[in-house]
């Protein structure tokens, strides 16, 4: 059973990807995640300038959910060059550089800063729900804004594929995806965190997160991810690859996202519960399921639900 695939000229040994924001600050942690089985790694969001995050608490969980409002801290391009450079000098798996900015122009400038390092893909984070107080509604909440960022980054990206990371917290993710596709997006990452949500401490009557609100993740958001992936896949006729992310804990979760239309599958919050070996576990579980079901290639799963629906219509 074959877990590998080549996507936009980049070969992935297996479909699991370390999602942005998790263990994503240093080359040494990317290497560790790659050693432990991830098919690719995504950096934490990188800014054009140093950017302070929120005070703690920034990440909290129960067995049902995780809320985070880390506030996208980053030391800026000098550190990014050092860490990404270190990783790419002897890269074990493909690297996806995730970028963030407060303006359309700075998205393009940030991309230009990082492209000379030759990341395999650029992932454009227009959907972070945790910097709204600072910068207003995410670009991913408006089709014209999302398209403007896509266009600006595509203009400078040369041959590097550009993936736009979309927000589930919109009326129609399909319309946003269509607008980005028209503006030249090469693919999508679906979804960023849900909500935002809030948690209150009963005795002190205070919101627990320092930012008060934070993006929701964990196993419970998987159905939202599946629906959003299916919508984006349909909206783009299955022509643009999707990195499906949201609530993936097991191989069966990953397969479900692939049937909805994902080519690769991001794993984030599950690292806290299944440990660093979650990537290997998910791959083993995909392999076991596919072997039992007579699926020879993991790529046969991509968009499977849409094909089945079409067959029956």
């Amino acid at each position: 059973m074959n877990l590998s695939q080549t996507l936009l000229g980049v070969t992935f040994e297996n479909p699991t990807v370390l999602a942005s924001g998790i263990m994503g600050i240093t080359a040494s942690s990317w290497r560790l995640i790659a050693e432990r089985g991830a098919g690719a790694i995504t950096t934490k969001s990188l800014w054009l300038h140093e950017h302070k995050g929120h005070r703690n608490p920034t990440i909290i969980s129960t067995e049902h959910w995780t809320l985070n409002a880390v506030g996208v801290p980053d030391a800026g391009p000098e550190k990014a060059r050092e860490e990404i450079g270190d990783f790419l000098r002897n890269k074990p798996v493909p690297l996806i550089a995730n970028i963030i900015a407060e303006s359309v122009e700075n998205f393009a400038l940030t991309a230009e800063e990082l492209l000379p390092l030759h990341p395999d893909f650029l992932e454009v984070n227009i959907s972070c729900p945790n910097v709204e107080d600072e910068f207003g509604k995410p670009f991913a909440c408006s089709a014209p804004d999302a398209a403007a960022v896509t266009k600006a980054v595509k203009k400078v990206s040369k041959g590097t594929p550009v993936f736009i990371k979309l927000s589930p917290n919109v009326d129609s993710i399909a319309k946003i995806a269509e607008a980005c596709a028209k503006a030249g997006a090469d693919g999508f990452t679906v979804i960023n965190t849900v909500g935002p949500g809030m948690a209150i401490d009963l005795r002190s009557r205070m919101p627990i997160l320092a930012n008060k609100v934070g993006g929701l993740s964990g196993p419970g958001i998987k159905p939202i991810a599946v629906k959003c992936i299916a919508d984006v896949y349909s909206a783009t006729d299955g022509k643009l690859p999707i990195i499906g992310t949201g609530g993936v804990y097991t191989g069966e979760d990953a397969i479900e996202l692939m049937l909805a239309g994902a080519s690769l599958v991001g794993i984030g919050t599950a690292v806290a519960d299944r440990g660093l070996d979650v990537f290997k576990h998910v791959c083993d579980e995909i392999q076991m399921w596919c072997t039992n079901e007579g699926v020879d290639n993991v790529t046969d799963l991509i968009g499977g639900m849409h094909k089945e629906l079409q067959k029956r219509s």
């Binding site: 998790i22 600050i25 240093t26 690292v271 440990g275």
Partner: protein, 290 residues
């Protein structure tokens, strides 16, 4: 699926039951409640509306939790103003803990407020029939912590070191460690004839340059050691990646904070630099980069 470890990842507020002023800058808060922390583990301590920081546990007896902290930063300065009955959020326990076998002969090396978790270790290990050499070090007499409490424990021989010589030995606590290890090497004739009592392992908690010295000394005398590392923490349970150490990429909130010396010897970052909340490297022998 692997079960979620027995830890709380959501802060729950507890009322401060007692406050003890240990030294001018150091206080101990007692909370009515236990998170089941083991010696060496840490908890995240939240002051609603202010901040949340990691603190090592000074004692968890299954009913009460004690934390001893040094009012040194924005959060801890505010935290020190709290009174009995005030609320603080606790979550955890997080990370690794010190490990020992019953009846072992162990040296504990405590520097500064590292004495608090070392007292917790001492109390638990003597309960398991261990015999201890405890070396408490501080800048001066007025900064020494937990000396009386340690003296009151059985099977403990206490050694004091101060930089200014105002109490005990004048110099570093690691000088005393070297003397103890060299006086009875494990493969020496007298150790084999049981004329002296060789050290089974060394535990350390305190400033990183002290830990680095312990690492070198224990490697030299081929005695296993376990040392408690301090790094900037956010989540506490292995997601954010802020506390990873080069070049292995291991997380000090999951694979640490208590790290065995055979691993520490592979960490190029140990004793050289640590990363701030932005992931930027700050050298131990230079002021933080602005």
């Amino acid at each position: 699926m692997t079960p979620i470890p027995l830890q709380s990842r959501l802060p729950r507020t507890y009322r401060i039951k007692a406050i003890k002023q240990e030294t001018e800058m150091v206080r101990t808060f007692t909370f009515d409640g236990s998170l089941g922390a083991k010696p060496g583990q840490f908890i995240m301590v939240w002051m609603p509306g202010v901040d949340e920081v990691p603190m090592s546990v000074a004692e968890d007896d299954g009913a009460q939790t004690r934390i001893t902290f040094f009012a040194v930063g924005d959060m801890t300065n505010e935290f020190a103003k709290l009174q009995v009955g005030d609320l603080a959020g606790l979550r955890g326990p997080f990370g690794t803990h010190y490990e020992w076998e019953p009846g072992q002969h162990i040296v504990l090396v405590a520097g500064g407020y590292g004495a608090a978790p070392m007292y917790f270790v001492a109390k638990e290990t003597v309960g398991h029939g261990c015999t201890l050499e405890v070396i408490v070090g501080a800048r001066g007499k007025e900064h020494l912590l937990f000396v009386k409490e340690l003296e009151a424990l059985p099977h403990v021989s206490l050694h004091i070191a101060t930089n200014d010589g105002s109490a005990g030995y004048k110099g570093f606590n690691t000088d005393i460690l070297e003397k103890l290890l060299s006086s009875c090497p494990r493969d020496s004739h007298s150790a084999k004839k049981k004329e002296c009592h060789p050290v089974d392992q060394v535990f350390g908690c305190g400033p990183e340059m002290m830990l680095k010295k312990i690492s070198e000394i224990t490697a030299k005398y081929d005695v296993p050691s376990q040392l408690s590392m301090e790094r900037y923490m956010k989540c506490g349970y292995g997601l954010c990646g802020n506390c990873v150490i080069d070049p292995l990429g291991i997380r000090m909130c999951v694979e640490g904070p208590v790290v065995k010396n055979e691993v520490l010897l592979k960490l190029a970052e140990f004793g050289k630099y640590h990363r701030d909340d932005l992931g930027k490297k700050n050298s131990f022998d230079a002021p933080p980069k602005k």
